[in-house]
Subunit: 225 residues, 2 copies
DNA sequence: AGGTCATTAGTTAATACTAACTAACTACAA
DNA sequence: TTGTAGTTAGTTAGTATTAACTAATGACCT
């Protein structure tokens, strides 16, 4: 995967690479059979619609038009399904962050890009929101909750380092420490997405996201004298 | 309750009234028997520690040192327990918000007060965080998810109106619209609490909360010329 | 004696998962 | 080209366990 991505980067622009992540099938790169991908996608859908309590092997198999036993041909347990699901998110996120960090944008441009791309992904697949933004739902299993916390922590660190970079090169205000700026930037984005979900995805997330970015920029960008 | 609160307000300062809410037993005012209160408190604890998946009648009764059947003497169903739990939160929150709105503080002072009081409540009873901040967890039941969304919406509206008030009287910047300021203020607070939880409540929430408030103030307070 | 609060011992339905089996395909030697 | 062996992906019909919930009963206090 890492090697492949490197090869991809040599032939395409950053903009084009982003399209890989945003494309209809987010799980393209993971080493899974078609049936496994289908099971994962359907699992995300079920969690999205019915919550974890509604995520049962019976519901899953019915949604796929298979018998319950058939699921176990492709995953050895329910936990393995959730694990795979989370791992694929972690992997995609890791590469996404890597791409953002490495490119030549300024820190504010990076934040803008993150807002743009994430709101695009969520607009295309609202079901992902339910899984990524619900840190509580896999609390049952220690292994799973660790994985979910990892996602949150990773995002935190990414914003933190981007903002620190911005403060160092005088693009972002130093009147407030980077930890608090991270809370405000990331927290605002998360709450916006949560509100969007609560309103049944009825408003245009991409537009709201853009508006939010410019508001944040207004407040945290260093003023020219 | 409303009448009672009004009577209380005539005899005590705002500061003292807050202590009612912050006191050990948040559920004091709700019309519940002692056993019922105990069941609700224990339910919150279980959800806090084991998640909703671990919130079963068996676990609950064991934690209380009762038989499973005994629970049904006090609540007619599991759903009724959760309903009561959420209703008590909604009631407390409603009165809390009312108190904030009515007092003579300036908008920024109001926000500061909310940060202070909420971080105090959560510090005393971290279990409450898991319930209030986990909008996903009761998704199973339509009635319950409506209740939880109501809490989020109410908080949203409160911040919105406080910030609008601040913009009208020139205490808060108008360079950014109040909806975005709400996202940043409330979103930052929520994310801080979530991080606190993720770090096993190990840092001092009250201190972090104070620091966050002053950071927000720095960014959104109208500059004197 | 009656009300309150608990118990024990169940029920029913749902859960994750398994055993035993099979149709359809694939690889490849005769 | 065809017979054979093995694989893949599915089936039906179960298992043990656990969930929420209930009926019948007992103990204690006033």
């Amino acid at each position: 995967m890492k090697v492949f991505l490197k090869a991809v980067k040599e032939h395409f622009s950053n903009q084009q690479i982003f399209l890989f992540f945003v494309s209809e099938h987010l799980l393209t790169f993971i080493m899974l059979s078609n049936r496994q991908k289908q099971i994962i996608e359907e699992s995300i859908n079920i969690i999205h619609i019915h919550g974890i309590q509604g995520f049962t092997i019976k519901n899953l198999s019915e949604a796929l038009g298979l018998s319950e036993a058939a699921i176990y041909r492709h995953f050895k347990s329910k936990t393995e399904i959730i694990c795979t699901l989370l791992d694929s998110f972690i992997e995609i996120l890791t590469d996404f962050i890597q791409l953002i960090k490495e490119n030549e944008f300024s820190p504010l441009e990076k934040i803008k890009t993150i807002f743009e791309k994430l709101s695009l992904i969520f607009s295309n697949k609202p079901a992902y929101v339910s899984v990524i933004f619900a840190e509580e739902i896999f609390k049952n299993d220690k292994l799973l909750s660790v994985k979910v916390n990892k996602i949150l922590k990773k995002n935190n660190e990414t914003f933190n380092s981007i903002i620190k970079e911005g403060q160092n090169n005088n693009e972002i205000t130093k009147s407030v420490s980077n930890q608090e700026l991270t809370l405000m930037t990331m927290g605002a984005f998360r709450l916006m997405v949560k509100n969007w979900k609560m309103n049944n995805f009825s408003f245009d997330l991409k537009k709201s996201s853009e508006k939010l970015y410019y508001s944040i920029e207004t407040l945290i960008k260093t003023k020219d004298n």
